[in-house]
Amino acid sequence: MENIAITQEVKPPNTSKGPVKWLQDNLFNTWYNTILTCLALVFLFFVFKGGLTWIFTQAEWEVIPANLQILMIGPYPIEQAWRIWIVLCTLFVLLGLSAGVWKGLVLRISAAIAIFGLILLLIPLDVVKNSEAEYAVLEFNFNIIYLIFLKRTWLLGGLVLFIVTFFLGRDKNVLKRWVIGGWVLSLPYTMMVLHGFGENSVSTTHWGGLFLTLVLAAAGITMCFPLGVLLALGRRSQLPAIKWVSTIYIETIRGVPLITLLIMGSVLFPIFMPGDLQLDKVLRAELALILFSAAYMAENVRGGLQAVPQGQVEAAQAVGLTYPKTMLFIVLPQALRAVIPAIVGQFISLFKDTSLVTIIGLLDLLGIARSVLANPTWQGRYIEVYLFVAAIYFVFCYAMSYVSQKIEADLGVGKH
């Protein structure tokens, strides 16, 4: 019997980790890479030095706290601002309940939003005005901190509500149906509270700032998704009428730039309508955004539908499921899961597209920024104002992207 060496000494692969190892492997592995790294570092140093020096020493940031109110809510009357806070608190309640009921991913996302709220609570952006209407230099004394907290009682209240409702909703499966119902009703509820009735109602000509941007984006996202799914299903339908209507719709809308739709909504549409039947200006812009995004959403969803094997549908039919049930429980869950990145990408681009409403004279965040720059007091503060606006857009877009990554990881997209 031959003696077979059953063991052979193999050097284990070098698995040492850590920043030093990573640097060695990726930035300094060859002499030319070392040179490139050094050059890039020098370049970055000068870019950052210029940028940071400007941000911290040359920029005149007082334009932001002075105009914070209009950047956030535009010409919305400040004595009616409680409406916005009520809506925010309601959302926190819904978030808290959802976090408690579903836990897991929902809890992590809600917690992230709550932590973001907490950070906002602590950022002392709204510098206190002194009697000469000049802006006091920031000093970390208790008085200012107290005043800032006073202004933010609402936000604090919202966060407290979030925590309370989280514990209330914990492990109560009965609540699931109610919470879903709450989310479905939240959009019309929000609009009603924000607009109000009777004498104290706030017409949409007073809506503006980040608030308008968020309303446009939130309503756009929640409405364009179901519409897009329906259009995608319609395009794959066996019924020629539905199929052709959906196809023509999608192709027509995709063949037209968003700005054309917005201008049509704001300039042409009112001319077609009879005198007394005028639609609200914000509503017209919102409709244009929804109709536009729905066409793109439909194509994203259709991509997902094509990825679902035909066998799934056949199997569903074999066990006797109706068409709606087949779609709702078999096909769509698989299809949507496959195209989460594309769908979230569409949401993010819709969020940024809301800034186009500036062109039809609505004062969203960007429109307000331009209005601030037209104020003789703050003329020439372009870079400060636009940087601030860009930072806000980035925070929201990145948040959406982050949530989508978490959902993907949770569903194991791309892994199994």
Partner: protein, 338 residues
């Protein structure tokens, strides 16, 4: 039976569809405004000095103040006005469809706009005109000296047309540099990529403040176009147009006769015209369909023309120029209050 019901339904729907055609549209906007209790005024969403959102969320600027003056005259309260920011394309549509009652948004009074669009103009509140800005060090004082210069202008505007027309009629060779965007135009000029820049003088003045060394730049004394800017109302509503026009005249009149926000309440006078103006005698307000003290309310709310100008346009560095009372050699001429 079912068929008859269906026919009735169709008839009813058809009736509903033609109903708007019979709607009574002859009610003047003046009456609508009184009923509604507020004036809806279209303004520019962000034009330095003329219309912008103040830090407190209230609209400010020269145009916005005239909107307040109308509210003060018609409703006795300058705050009973709702401002709607509009862009250049939709401003006339908004007026035609009744979304706004009056448009005060830097709109030049031209023949085409008066005749073709269904709009009527009220007296201009600001006489603007196209001018040139360039470096002081070039020592240029007249257009002739601009021969061979590169001149920056925004694309597709009447400004571009005016420039070409003027230069052609004077036989001057020049090099137009056309920009799509206003901000790019001025940053290029600031960087020295064009010798001069042309636009409405109010814009040149406002933009000069943003240049790196604003004192090194000069605005030429010549004006190559007329840009009378004023309020607009919908075509055919004479009652409303009269009210808006006389609100403008009232601000002119007050400056002419030195009636100011401060002295209007305690003013004692024997001048019969001023008495009529203040509503102490005569029935000027009634004739216009306005309250007796309508003009007084305007002055209490926003002051006379000079005060409105100094509050909004002097801070951005605009000189009065021709926007002075006719008694001082300007163009502001109030029709007589009698």
């Amino acid at each position: 039976m079912r068929k008859i019901g269906f026919r009735l339904l169709v008839l009813a729907l058809a009736f509903l569809m033609v109903l708007p055609l019979f709607a009574d549209d002859h009610e003047s906007i003046l009456d609508k405004v009184k009923k509604r209790g507020k004036v809806v005024c279209g303004v520019h969403g962000g034009l330095p000095g003329f219309g912008f959102l103040g830090e407190d969320g209230k609209w400010s600027g020269f145009d916005a103040d005239f909107g307040r003056a109308i509210a003060a005259a018609v409703l006795g309260d300058p705050d009973k006005v709702e401002f709607v920011p509009l862009n250049a394309a939709e401003r006339f549509t908004a007026l035609q469809t009744g979304e706004i009652d009056v448009l005060i948004r830097n709109t030049t009074w031209t023949l085409s706009r008066d005749a073709e669009l269904s709009t009527d103009f009220a007296p201009p509140t600001f006489y603007d005109g196209q001018g040139f800005m360039l470096l002081k060090s070039l020592n240029i004082t007249s257009i002739d000296q601009l021969a061979g210069a590169s001149i920056g202008v925004t694309a597709g505007s009447t400004t571009e047309l005016n420039l070409a027309d003027t230069m052609r009629s004077l036989g001057i060779d020049f090099n137009p540099v056309v920009y799509e965007d206003i901000d790019t135009l001025y940053s290029s000029y600031d960087a020295g990529r064009v010798d001069a820049v042309t636009s409405d003088k109010s814009q040149l003045v406002a933009r000069r403040k943003d240049l790196k060394k604003s004192d090194d730049h000069v605005i030429l004394d010549v004006t190559i176009s007329k840009e009378p800017l004023g309020p607009l109302t919908i075509h055919g509503d004479n009652k409303w147009n009269d009210a808006v026009s006389w609100v403008v005249y009232a601000t002119f009149f007050a400056e002419e006769h030195k009636i100011t926000q401060k002295n209007v309440k305690s003013l004692k006078t024997d001048n019969p015209e001023i008495k009529r103006f203040l509503g102490d005698s005569g029935e000027m307000g009634k004739k216009l369909g306005l309250p007796k003290d309508w003009a007084k309310q305007i002055i209490i709310a926003v002051g006379n023309y000079g005060e409105i100008f100094e509050r909004n346009l002097t801070p951005i560095g605009l000189p009065r120029g021709v926007n002075k009372p006719w008694t001082q050699g300007g163009l502001l001429y109030a029709m007589p209050f009698r």
